[in-house]
């Protein structure tokens, strides 16, 4: 949680009574923040508990009854992973997400490098056009791209290729924008010096710009990974084989089949959350830095 850490503004209270007085004086703040913390934690915790409760318990009583009847099981996870296709869907999510993260990282950082450090005519116009493209909604691509992919004769919609390409393309405006704005903050002298030493653009890109920009590239990579992993809509359109569908799609299918089987639904919903939570908690520093770099100022 270090990235969200901040120093408190006040001087530390000196005595116990002073500490108590300060705490009581702030008690409305503590109460409100306590309620907020509960509001944000309890729904998720309820689902987590339900995913470990036996189905019979779930049907009989609310999840909060675990306090009086603490029975837990892994049966729900076992069932959704094997019988309900979440195991295969987990792998499918990985197959969709990894290339859809690596490709835009590579393509966007190359373009951002040119826009930051290679001189060419109309460079600002090109960058402005990319800024303008930030808002293009994925929906404009659906009909023409599905038609084009279907008629291309290539198995784009029956493999992951169509999804990889569409995810990559629609991630580019944001990636180029974010990385270009980071790249131009690198010290000019360093890059000029390398140029004078005869380094090629590719060498400057690979040995100076990319290594110095790891925080920005990591932030973009995390965004893109979470975005694709959590996506449902693009998969609905560009992955037209049920057996290739990611976890988000599979959860939706389960919800249609087992509308009130919360034991299974909660386990499935949690499986979708596991990877993003691990990524997010372990790489949170980059994530928050990226968010702030993109916004404040």
């Amino acid at each position: 949680m270090t990235a969200l850490q901040d120093t408190t503004v006040q001087a530390p209270p000196r005595t116990a009574s002073e500490r108590l007085a300060r705490f009581v004086g702030k008690s409305p703040v503590h109460i409100i923040l306590g309620i907020i913390a509960l509001l944000w934690l309890v729904p998720t915790i309820g689902l987590l508990i339900t995913s470990f409760r036996p189905g019979a318990d779930m049907r009989a009583t609310g999840w909060w009854n675990v306090i009086v009847e603490p029975r837990f099981t892994l049966a729900n996870y076992e069932r959704v992973l094997t019988n309900e296709g979440m195991g295969q869907a987990f792998l499918n999510s990985l197959f969709i997400t990894v290339p859809s993260t690596i490709l835009p990282l590579l393509v966007a950082s190359m373009a951002a490098f040119a826009l930051a450090w290679v001189k060419f005519p109309f460079r600002d116009t090109v960058f402005l056009t990319i800024v303008a493209m930030l808002i293009v909604p994925v929906q404009v691509g659906f009909i023409p791209l599905v038609v084009a992919m279907r008629e291309s004769g290539m198995p784009l919609l029956t493999t992951y290729a169509g999804a990889w390409l569409a995810h990559t393309a629609f991630a580019l405006p944001f990636g180029i924008f974010l990385l270009r704005n980071f790249f131009i903050t690198l010290p000019k002298d360093l890059i000029e010096a390398a140029r004078i030493d005869g380094a090629s653009n590719w060498a400057i890109f690979r040995t100076i710009v990319v290594p110095l920009s790891v925080p920005a590239i990591a932030a973009y990579g995390i965004f893109q990974f979470l975005w694709v992993w959590n996506d449902l809509l693009m998969a609905l359109i560009y992955v037209q084989r049920t057996t290739l569908q990611p976890m988000t799609y599979q959860v939706t299918t389960l919800l249609g089949t087992y509308a009130t089987e919360w034991s299974l639904l909660s386990a499935a919903a949690f499986l979708v959350m596991v990877v993003p939570l691990v990524v997010f908690i372990s790489l949170q520093r980059y994530f928050v830095q990226g968010l702030l770099a993109g916004s404040v100022k």
Binding site: W40, F127, N181, F223, F280, L291
Partner: protein, 316 residues
């Protein structure tokens, strides 16, 4: 809701970005892959979709030009998309509800939590807790909240709590008059952390001398909040609000998973209608028109982004 792209704003430290120079093979080499993808996957489809909105568009192809038929039907003959009356309804109207209530309440809650959190020692924990939904798929958010809203006191937390006061059980998602509010509440829950983190960083940029001076002059905390903090972070607020507006216009997953636009068609939003009408009803020309509506609604955001970039570029 998940992993919102950070709002678009611009680094002020540009030093190397002036254009100029002659034609460059290096630039072409570095830009070609991105340019190719953007042309094929963004520019060409945009033109195609705009053209298709004036066509019947069977199977997504140009089959029969129909002039403004799709457009006239969309705005005057399709109560699922827009029905003006009292009260208005339809997908577009629901987006308006989202726009007004989701955007303003997320910003307000984000500001209040950010300000309150600065005054306690567990600030980092509070921010981390409200921020956590950012990592969660809208699909999972939908399951979490469908479960909370479940219309059974032995299942759904909300009805269990209401049951203590002998209210309900109520089926918020099953009632056309409550479903949109229930969904908007989930949206707010999912996005407050994003606003909190961005605005918290901005609030920390306010010099403590300003706040001290106000306190010495006898301003109370409410006055400090509205008269000092809010005006001083107005730009970050605008940037957050713009990001939230974009979220609303693109909103799809949450609706698709929680209600399928129902009950009936009462919780549809434009992105849902686009999918439904094009891909489930096979009315591709009509769906294309809805996609164009989305682009048009996003144009002000595009102008905002481009203007901001230009302003920054001039300052360099």
């Amino acid at each position: 809701m998940t992993a919102e792209n950070p709002p678009v704003a611009v680094s002020t430290t540009a030093t190397a970005s002036k254009g100029g120079g002659g034609f460059s093979w290096a630039a072409l080499f570095f830009l070609a892959p991105a340019a190719l993808l953007l042309l094929v996957f963004l520019l060409f489809p945009t033109v195609y979709t705009i053209a298709l909105s004036f066509n019947r568009g069977r199977a997504g192809e140009f089959t029969e030009w129909t002039g403004l038929d799709n457009w006239i039907r969309l705005f005057t003959e399709d109560p699922n998309f827009l029905r003006l009356g009292f009260p208005p309804s339809g997908a577009l109207w629901n987006n308006v509800l989202w726009l007004v209530f989701y955007v303003s309440l997320v910003v307000l809650a984000g500001l209040i939590i950010a300000v309150m959190a600065t005054r306690v020692r567990y600030e980092a924990w509070i921010k981390a807790i409200v921020f956590l939904p950012q990592a969660i798929a809208a699909t999972s958010l939908a399951v979490i909240w469908s479960f909370v809203y479940a219309p059974d006191r032995n299942t759904g937390l909300m009805n269990a709590v209401l049951g203590i006061a002998d209210i309900g059980p109520v089926a918020l998602l099953g009632n056309p008059s409550t479903v949109n509010w229930a969904l908007i509440a989930v949206g707010i829950w999912g996005s407050v952390g994003f606003a909190t983190v961005i605005l918290s960083a901005a609030i920390k940029g306010i010099s403590s001398e300003v706040l001290e001076a106000a306190r010495v002059d006898g301003a109370n905390e409410t006055q400090i909040f509205w008269r000092i903090i809010v005006p001083m972070v107005s730009l970050p607020i605008a940037v957050v609000a713009v990001t939230l507006v974009v979220n609303v216009i693109k909103l799809f997953d949450l609706i698709f998973v929680m209600t399928q636009g129902g009950p009936g068609t009462s919780s549809r939003v434009i992105a849902f209608s686009m999918y439904q009408d094009a891909f489930r009803q096979g009315q591709y020309g009509y769906g294309a028109a809805i996609a164009v509506v989305m682009v048009v609604l996003l144009l002000p955001v595009m102008i905002f982004n481009v203007r901001r970039f230009r302003a920054e570029a001039v300052q360099q």
